[in-house]
Symmetry: C2
Subunit: 463 residues, 2 copies
């Protein structure tokens, strides 16, 4: 089957008068990068170690310290000019004993266990647990409509589903995640005793998904737990005709603040060392599953970019910096520290790429920059499209990544690696986010895509 894309041809026709010798050289070089990544890339092997030998890596946990040391050692073996740890202070939250959730009084079904999981930073219910009547809402706004008299003393059940009709699942996630982040805190303002939040996934199954929960200052913190989508559907069905009481128990607690680190490796630029090209992901994960797609994949891909460019003997003109951020999931202390130090040193990140959308088949990159310069810089980048489109990659306007987005005022390009999004939220923050959910070819193709873009960014710069 001939897969030469008509899009490539049209775009090539549109953007250029012909294929220059320069473009030919770049096409061959990118082909080399892909060959290396698909035959001799190390991302999958590193991910195996990170997920299966170290495990989940919540900020502040011993495992996160092990992960810091592991990736430091791996970067060391790559012959970078320097590898260092950048200290940051991170909250250390602990899930505690396995959670319990149970419908206790259904006249139709009697007692039914629910699959629940405490949300990040949740306080505990106390060892006795909590039993209370459940009230279902679809949004944060609905709380105000119901008011204190309807909510006080109850468990607020946030049940707005992630919209399955969105083609890009990240848009659907963005449309549902406010309930998980702010639900408990807002419900507490109206006197609720706990929050139970529908897992933010389109998959209908028994697996609850955790994620960050934030208490506003001055609000009494109440327990905040996720319930599986099947559990949420059942509960919602019963609530149509019954007054349902639910028992919840979790022993989660905040253990205080721990010292942790961003891990940074650097190759000095041979011509423009003051222009930094960053490639990164975040090393921490939630404490369920193994943080394989979120974001072990992004870390090992970023590391493999350096590795692959080494193997094809590419010596960067600009400073290539691989950054594995700490604590993205639970406060972004690593990203904040990185930004503060970077601005303090008056650095210029000409470009930064973050991979934090899973290790799936690459579809392209999304670009962000300060509004005043975006169009000009993006136009510049679009000229490379004919080189990347044969690999199924598109270049679009869009968000970059939580860890790098704070660098915008350095007036560089902020870039998000954009793999296929269909499966990501099946695994996100859940026990299913393991190595088995990652396909080696898909993972390595992502490293190749990122290395190819880094090569072009480094070689040509951005006006």
């Amino acid at each position: 089957m001939n897969r030469v894309s008509c899009l490539t041809l049209l775009i090539a026709l549109f953007l250029s008068a012909g294929v220059s010798a320069q473009q030919n050289e770049d096409a061959f070089f990118i082909r080399d990068i892909y060959d290396q990544a698909l035959t001799a890339g190390d991302a999958y092997e590193w991910l195996d170690y990170l997920t299966n030998n170290i495990g989940p890596r919540l900020g502040g946990s011993p495992e996160s310290a092990a992960a810091v040391e592991y990736v430091r050692q791996m970067l060391d073996t790559m012959g970078m000019d320097t590898v260092w740890l950048q200290p940051c202070m991170v909250p250390h939250w602990e899930r505690g004993e396995p959670e319990m959730g149970r419908i206790v009084n259904s006249s139709r079904m009697g007692t039914v266990d629910l699959d629940v999981l405490a949300l990040g930073n949740s306080v505990g219910t106390g060892p006795e647990g909590i039993t209370a009547q459940v009230i279902e809402v679809q949004s944060l706004e609905e709380l105000a409509e119901l008011g204190r008299e309807r909510i006080e003393g109850k468990i607020v059940f946030f049940n707005r589903p992630m919209d399955p009709t969105q083609i890009n699942t990240f848009n659907a996630y963005g449309g549902a995640v406010d309930q998980r982040v702010y639900g408990a805190s807002r419900a507490s303002e109206y006197g609720a005793v706990a929050a139970l939040v529908r897992s933010v996934t389109t998959r209908i199954d028994d697996i609850p998904h955790t994620g960050v929960n934030v208490y506003q200052e001055g609000v009494r913190p109440i327990p905040s737990l996720a319930v599986s989508t099947k559990g949420a559907n059942l509960l919602s069905d019963l609530l149509v005709t019954e007054n349902i009481q639910v028992y919840l128990r979790n022993t989660s607690r905040m253990l205080g603040t721990k010292k942790s680190y961003n891990v940074i490796g650097e190759i000095y630029g041979s011509e423009y060392p003051e222009e930094i090209v960053l490639v990164g992901g975040h090393l921490d994960s939630w404490d369920v599953g193994r943080g394989a797609h979120d974001d072990g994949a992004g870390c090992v891909q970023a590391m493999d970019v350096v590795n692959i460019l080494n193997k094809v003997n590419y010596r960067p003109k600009r400073t290539l910096r691989c950054v594995l951020f700490m604590n993205e999931e639970n406060g972004q202390a690593g990203a904040i520290k990185y930004r503060d130090e970077s601005f303090a040193r008056d650095e210029y990140h000409m470009a930064a790429i973050e991979s934090d959308r899973g290790g799936f088949t690459p579809r392209g990159f999304t670009f962000d920059a300060h509004e005043s310069i975006f169009n000009e810089k993006f136009r510049n980048v679009l000229e490379w499209l004919p080189l990347l489109e044969p690999y199924g990659l598109s270049l679009d306007k869009g968000g970059s990544g939580a860890d790098i987005s704070r660098l915008k005022d350095q007036m560089g390009l902020l870039i998000g690696f954009a793999p296929d999004t269909q499966r990501y939220f099946d695994y996100h923050h859940a026990e299913t986010d393991t190595l088995e959910a990652v396909n080696p070819r898909e993972l390595q193709s992502g490293a190749a895509a990122m290395a190819s873009l880094v090569y072009l960014l480094d070689k040509y710069g951005i006006n």
Copy 2:
């Protein structure tokens, strides 16, 4: 993140003077199709039944008869104008007892079991098995170079890997599969006693992959078995320094010819009933795994096209025919029968779409037609690109499908549904091709993509 694609904008600019009211109507209709497919599609549920209740469905097997009856019933429930079975005679081959493969004389490793699986149509070794020296080759051509004196009495080990650097894995498959199809027969011509073929997958693991093996007429058939890629790598390593003997045992046999059926459902066209739009897949599978991606997915997607168009109340102008072909894997008796009867009735397939590349995230469609009309027809179709590109779909020149490609002389368009290819050959013809390997969103998105194209084909026709 704003995912409006710059490609869409460029192409839209290039192809049209503006967005017409007609295009707006089509955009809304296709949005409806996707909404239905992603919230109320039935493909995944049908696939669950087909794979888990019925199981693998090799042509001639009782399970293939169960599958015929199941999909006939499902089509019946959809209120089609007619559903019928088209008889065809298919070979019935049986794997027999679990195969055995063993390295018996390595001085370095002693005795080592190999994961092997008889290839389709293979004869058996006899109950005692075969032990013989192994000779490794990289191609069919190498047999001639070695000649009878080097090959006679030996097991020929075909070990050319599927090229992992190909971005489209079907190209890599095409570059390796000749060893599996013709290896045993060609080796027999030089006096070999058996063929052992490296599994056609880029995944390096312990899982052997079966597939069709064809004996040329007049050649003495010898046993033909696949070995896992890890087993192949080990064997090849040992052969560098040792004369290795391997023991093989399989009890496969041909049971003769059985009557089976293509299953066909049809909605008569309201305006142009003589113009047929076919959508289909193949109902049979190999006898290992559950035939989930190959090609249960294609069948349930084709059925869901009819189902979804029903649900959005679309009444086809042209005759919409859903065809589930029998025996694609092992001779294509169903496709041959369908073609013969179609030509005998002087039918015109204006367009035919086959889904037989797995139930992965849709990337687009590939188009084929008689050379004399291809450019004109394809140009016609390309005008719909702005409607499909927002769903990540491209339209390219390429192959269609094994079952429909015989219809080319009817001078219609032959279309292959083209999902992402990265994972397909991890599961292809192997025990891992189960429902668990199929993602519901990816599967349903494919049904939506196919239904959208069928809608446009039916509504506008092709000049």
